[in-house]
């Protein structure tokens, strides 16, 4: 009954702050939407320039194949100076240089063209180079076929490997699916951490914590009461995110059991909230708490395995990531929601989340009792 009253008090605190409610709504709808819709890691409309010294039908034909959606030709240039200017200014990211002897060499020893790529963004550069190579390769095969005399339509009828690539789970490599889910997972993490920690620190700053201490409530009751409103609001808002934003707007194929996801998500929100409480037992004011949260949150976001898969991490970072609850949750979330895996694939993730949650809860109860020893 005592616990119930405390929970009610915390809910009132949360609901009284209109701005806070609005931000929570935004976090689970608008923020997820903008991350999924706006941001793309696909290479599209990659800005290129063509430096055609050959000016023959063949070179024009090749140049014309660099087209949308992957490439966008900004300009045909005439000299090296322009080339440097375009790339230095960053307006163009790639240049295709076709030498003067292009046509003659095609028939004889083979022509060499140059692809100059701006390497500042190495990832998209790699992808753009792959697209360019594919275009050049396809054109080469066509020329070969014409030469050898594969008449009629140009079918690849040479002894070559014809690759049929299937990309599982996300055949069109849509970043929107990946990004919107990642942002949703990020928001669960951020909100459970920040809101719980801030609610606790506020009591410290305003001195109302002393009032709580003189009542007969127990430490764990205070903690549970702080955690429950956050977890409840996250689970309600998640309905919006999953059904309206993920499924509705982006058409993310939810292949697994949402109920199962929910169950573990609640545990996860609980674990992260407990982390927030642990921070609040150390920090004296919100500014300090914010710094502590940054030190913990930023590594969690970047060691979550979403950007760098665990197998590519530096061994030290890989071990470090084992103590981050988010690493388990990201793996779990994509595995269950996106790949449709069952418990046999993710039991170790769930175990990780629960163990970390238990340790953190025990730690913060201990810290709290110690710092407010009666």
């Amino acid at each position: 009954m005592r616990l119930f009253a405390l929970i009610k008090k915390e809910f009132l605190h949360l609901l009284r702050d209109k701005a806070l409610i609005f931000i929570l709504f935004w976090a689970f709808t608008g923020a997820v939407y903008t991350a999924g819709s706006g941001f793309t890691m696909e290479v599209k409309n990659f800005p290129i320039i063509i430096y055609d010294m050959s000016k023959t039908n063949e070179s024009r034909e090749l140049a014309s194949r660099f087209q949308k959606p992957y490439f966008k030709i900004l300009s045909y240039i005439e000299n090296d100076k322009e080339l440097i200017k375009w790339l230095d200014s960053g307006k163009a990211s790639m240049a295709v240089v076709i030498p003067a002897d292009f046509k003659r060499k095609i028939d004889k020893s083979g022509a060499k063209i140059q692809i100059i790529i701006d390497g500042t963004m190495s990832m998209s550069a790699t992808v753009a180079v792959a697209y360019a190579s594919e275009i050049i390769y396809d054109y080469s095969i066509e020329i070969l076929e014409r030469k050898i005399g594969v008449t009629g339509k140009f079918i690849k009828n040479l002894p070559i490997i014809d690759e049929r690539t299937r990309i599982e789970f996300n055949p069109n490599t849509l970043s929107s699916w990946f990004m919107s889910m990642l942002e949703y997972f990020n928001m669960i993490t951020m909100i459970s951490l920040l809101v719980t920690a801030a609610a606790m620190v506020r009591e410290k700053e305003q001195g109302t914590i002393e009032q709580l201490l003189v009542t007969p409530v127990r430490t764990w009751e205070i903690f549970i009461a702080k955690i429950i409103p956050t977890v409840v609001s996250i689970s309600l808002l998640s309905l919006l995110t999953i059904f309206v934003i993920l499924k509705g707007v982006f058409g993310v194929p939810i292949r697994g059991s949402i109920l199962f996801f929910y169950l573990v998500m609640l545990f996860y929100a609980f674990t992260i909230s407990t982390l927030g409480l642990a921070i609040s037992t150390i920090a004296r004011n919100l500014a300090q708490a914010m710094m502590l949260m940054l030190v913990i949150l930023i590594p969690m976001l970047f060691l979550s395995g979403a950007w760098t898969p665990p197998e590519s991490m530096h061994p030290l970072m890989r071990y470090l990531s084992l103590i981050s609850p988010m690493r388990y949750f990201i793996d779990f979330g994509y595995s269950v929601l996106f790949k449709g895996n069952g418990i046999s694939y993710v039991w170790h993730d769930i175990l990780g989340i629960i163990i970390l949650g238990a340790i953190l809860f025990a730690f913060s109860v201990y810290r709290f009792r110690k710092s407010f020893a009666k």
Binding site: D17, A19, I23, W26, T34, A35, F39, T40, M41, E42, V43, F46, P47, D88, S109, G110, A111, I117, G119, T120, M121, S122, M123, A125, T126, V129, A130, Y131, S133, E134, I136, Y137, S140, L144, L158, P159, I160, I161, E163, T165, I167, E168, F169, W177, N186, V195, E205, A287, M291, V295, I298, F302, L303, A306, T308, P309, M313, M317, L320, S335
Partner: protein
């Protein structure tokens, strides 16, 4: 007139120095971020676990398999027997890619026909899938060139050469290392969200504790409050800049060929923008918790997504390009990468610098206008 500003500055600096835990953390945070990004964020796609289903197991198919595993991109995981195992490996994430070689692989190729090879790629992380696909194509292209040469020799016609080959040259970052784009980019994103976060509590904190009334009752003007609160935090953020710069260039050996003075000059303008945004949030927000949440949600992730950190702005959708145009990070990103990797000078950045200055002016004007000495 400056006396009042000096008064506020003195008070703010005192308050900062009185909280050593906060100050220590203010310096620890950027250090942690640099180490994390330097060691932890590796976007190079390398050593990917690859499995094969080889229905033929001939000499040619083995040779084909080796062309994958001999590259630095792929690491041999296992040779499996069935499609079901392949799906299982990809589902569990043990393997990111499976190559299926058909039974008639070498027979078809030797008789002059194309052979179909199936490739399954784990698409749960689309960018990585895209890069893997690129590697596969590159490996196949190389293998094909060899096949064609052999074929031409066998058929006995004049030796055919492959008509067009491309020589790839990467400027500014020849080995295409992700480190060289992550660490400079991180300077931009960290200074963005960190400055906003630092400044986001300064005014609203006084609102919550009630000490804001001291300001309301005093003769200070809005601009004195705004700048008096901003300058101490610009100083902290500037120290952050120095930490990040020297760690990334000194310790992590990021390529830096430009002018430090130019970079510092641009950074100061940028910091004014970012701290201004933080102060503005702090003036508008009613509670510390909402100010902090706005700062966290509104800056950390957008700083990475819309500044052009991961991917060129030109590839984004129209609405995202718009967002990136209205945040200062995208302008600063151009300057930072230009100075770090390309070593280009002031003349290329005039527009960016002017845009940032205009941005700063706008932010401070709005902040001053929204600071009203009113209750409620």
């Amino acid at each position: 007139m400056l006396r009042r500003l000096r008064g506020i500055l003195k008070k703010e600096f005192k308050e900062l120095l009185r909280d050593p835990l906060y100050l220590t953390f203010a310096l620890i945070v950027p250090t942690v971020i640099v180490f994390l990004m330097g060691y932890g964020l590796i976007l190079d796609v390398k050593n990917i676990a690859i499995a094969f289903i080889d229905y033929e197991r001939s000499q040619l198919s083995r040779e084909y398999r080796y062309s994958f595993t001999n590259s630095e991109y792929f690491r041999f995981y296992s040779l499996i027997d069935s499609y079901k195992d392949a799906e299982e490996l990809i589902k569990s994430g043990k393997c990111r890619i499976v190559v299926v070689i058909p039974q008639d692989f070498s027979r078809k190729l030797y008789s002059g026909k194309p052979a179909q090879v199936q490739i399954l790629i784990d698409g749960s992380f689309p960018m990585r899938a895209e890069v893997m696909k690129g590697y596969v194509t590159a490996i196949n292209t190389q293998f094909n060139e060899k096949l064609l040469k052999d074929y031409a020799n066998r058929v006995g016609g004049s030796a055919i050469n492959f008509p067009i080959t491309a020589e790839i040259r990467a400027w500014y970052n020849p080995s295409l290392e992700s480190k060289n784009f992550i660490l400079p980019g991180m300077l931009v994103t960290t200074l963005m969200f960190y400055s906003v976060l630092l400044a986001s509590l300064v005014v609203v904190r006084e609102k919550e504790s009630g000490s804001i009334f001291n300001l309301y009752c005093s003769p200070v003007k809005a601009w004195e409050v705004v700048f008096g609160k901003a300058i101490p935090y610009i100083c902290i953020a500037f120290v952050t800049y120095l930490i990040i710069f020297f760690l990334s260039v000194g310790l992590f050996q990021t390529k830096f060929i430009g002018s430090f003075t130019l970079l510092t000059f641009a950074t100061i303008i940028y910091l004014f923008c970012a701290i201004g945004v933080g102060i503005f949030i702090s003036i508008v927000a009613k509670t510390q918790i909402s100010a902090m949440l706005i700062a966290f949600i509104g800056t950390i992730i957008p700083a990475y997504l819309y500044s052009g950190f991961f991917s060129p702005i030109t590839s984004m959708s129209a609405s995202a390009q718009f967002i990136s145009k209205i945040i200062p990070a995208s302008y600063f990103m151009g300057i930072v990468r230009g100075v770090y990797l390309k070593g280009i000078g002031l003349e290329s950045f005039t527009v960016d610098l002017i845009s940032m200055t205009a941005y700063a002016t706008a932010v401070y004007s709005i902040a001053m206008l929204s600071f009203r000495k009113k209750v409620g």
